[in-house]
Point group: C2
Chain length 338, copies 2
DNA sequence: AGTTAGCACTCTCGACTGGAGAGTGCTAAT
DNA sequence: ATTAGCACTCTCCAGTCGAGAGTGCTAACT
């Protein structure tokens, strides 16, 4: 049973370990919090906490280190979130409004800002439309047997693909074809676009419509990720031997991270999910935690996440991830409102 | 004076050091090449080479390590390039033809392939048009006071930017405006686009033309880089303490690399440039070498480069960089031919 | 002249050792 | 239930030592 006092002590252990990265001793706890109980009492409680699996010792007679379960309890019951100060909010919003370039730049910048704010790596994925629709298509002549198909999607993103031409076609003819197609296909999702393609008598037009349908599908699936803050993570004391550092670089650049993001796909927008150490299925993620949040709306959903060692400042990270996710929902909304 | 024998010995030292990463001893040289002269003779020659600055000793009575000048001499006079085997060429071309996505995917994939092929990090930059021209512009309604301006450039790339509208404008009106503008502006570079803007009576149309001119400029300047192979470099023995590893990560992610690429801007297309250690102006690049090649044609030029420790397999890297650059020139040509 | 055997000398590197110090668990008293 | 006291464990660091690798120099040899 986790008595109130034991819970309090667990909280102190986690807090202390998060800030010092050193196993926490009974003496450190008493000294730091000016407690009126003795170190021996603390030691008894620590023994119980260890028995119950909340903390472990790296070796006999060293201080205590939180286990995954310890962190989990901390996150769910013990921690008090550190709000994002108005000052910091202004800084972040300001940086984010600097760039009026395009979606990708926003996303990349968001990852950078978030990573900087929490001192760990951050990942942002492109919003993926639940059901993507096309807003507008255009055909541009590239050479005598190829055209470029450019499609603007309803979330403001642009996709392109080369389109082989059966017969030489002038730019004027291409523009004409695009105009005709737009009338029929505007606002269509992939399924409707295919249906339209099937009805079109002209084979070239039909091929174009099918290509558009493909683009819509790709749009729905392609989930590019923007990662930043590698340097920041690698400076954490958990990686101060080379093997671990190499492993860390490999882990962060691998697909695994993406897979975890996909696992969290059922999370609610607005809510923030925390995955700690072994809670990832993946062995190579044992020593990592992720704080994940979704952004967007019913139609298009992306992911913001922070990745770092399990010894992570959850009480700072969680509100910051949530804040950035909310900000990005707003940004996305600004672009998408038709 | 660099006698013939001394040059040969220098070559052996460099080769040996490149493959073992250990200071090269007189005995190792004799043993490896079954020479008919004694280690003492080699030692005398090594002493002369050191006197002349081609090699150094990490500490008294250790083996010899090439200096920057030693590598330079090796690259220019001693090395024999290892050609890219037909088999490897096929593999690379095959991988590169897998993706028919878009320019960016090609570039990113090229960096990955090159990095894998030489076991070091690789950087590829987007081709930058010497003078960029627009091929086609399109306006798409986003909401009542914003439109999306989409411009297809003559190298097939697409740039976009949001365009504030003075007064509510329908999609039909926007399309109409785009058609009118295209007539005047197709094939224009930034300067011409500005001239057209100045002549247009309608303020909205003029604003659009100016925005197009800005996009053309951005296109010319924006030089996005694709980096891959971080893991590969970090596995090199020169980084097996954490400080150096961290430094390496920082160096590779910093702008410095980009600056060096810009320095090499006057290089001929087709030629390959090697910058070794202190030859970079930058102190933080002391221990790095780059093999740089340009690709493209008179109109649009990009850069391919490999970055690694000065102890780099130049004889393998140089032909591979050259080969990939040539390949990318072809690819670019395929897209650009109008 | 250039080459080479022989040898003393230098420097690194890994293994080993021996406290010092931090921290615990246990026992017995409060 | 709490606590003082103490023996015990384990890490970490600094110092030491010897083995080994490699050189430079000298003197003899071709």
């Amino acid at each position: 049973m986790l008595t109130e006092r034991r819970a309090a002590i667990l909280g102190m252990v986690v807090n202390e370990y998060i800030s010092t990265a050193e196993p926490v001793s009974s003496r450190a706890i008493v000294a730091r919090h000016h407690l009126d109980i003795s170190t021996a009492t603390i030691r008894n409680e620590l023994a119980r906490l260890e028995e119950d699996g909340y903390i472990t010792q790296p070796y006999t007679s060293a201080g205590r280190v939180p286990s995954d379960m310890g962190y989990r309890t901390f996150v769910e019951m013990l921690m008090s979130e550190e709000p994002v100060e108005a000052q910091e909010q202004r800084t972040i919003e300001h940086q984010l409004h600097q760039v009026m370039g395009g979606l990708d730049e926003w996303l990349s910048l968001s990852a950078t800002i978030l990573a900087g704010s929490v001192g760990n790596a951050a990942v942002v994925t492109r919003p993926r439309a639940a059901s993507s629709r096309i807003r507008h298509a255009q055909l541009v002549e590239l050479n005598h047997d190829t055209a470029l198909l450019v499609a603007v999607m309803d979330d403001g993103r642009v996709r392109q693909r080369m389109l082989p031409l059966q017969s030489p076609t002038s730019q004027a003819q291409l523009t004409d074809r695009a105009v005709r197609l737009n009338v029929r296909i505007e606002g269509a999702d992939a399924r409707i676009a295919r249906a339209v393609a099937a009805e079109l008598p002209d084979p070239d037009e039909a091929a174009t419509a099918r290509a558009i349908a493909d683009l819509i599908d790709e749009q729905r699936i392609a989930e590019e990720t923007f990662l930043d803050g590698l340097n920041a993570v690698l400076k954490q004391p958990e990686f101060l031997d080379t093997d671990r550092m190499l492993e860390a670089v490999a882990t962060l650049q691998a697909y695994r991270v993406r897979r975890v993001l996909e696992q969290a796909i059922d999370a609610q927008i607005g809510s923030t999910q925390v995955v700690i150490g072994r809670e990832h299925g993946d062995d190579s993620m044992q020593e990592w935690s992720m704080v994940i949040s979704r952004y967007g709306d019913e139609d298009a959903i992306g992911t913001v996440a922070v990745i770092g060692p399990t010894r992570m400042a959850y009480h700072r990270t969680i509100p910051r991830v949530r804040y950035v996710a909310r900000l990005m929902s707003h940004l996305l909304h600004e672009v998408r409102q038709a």
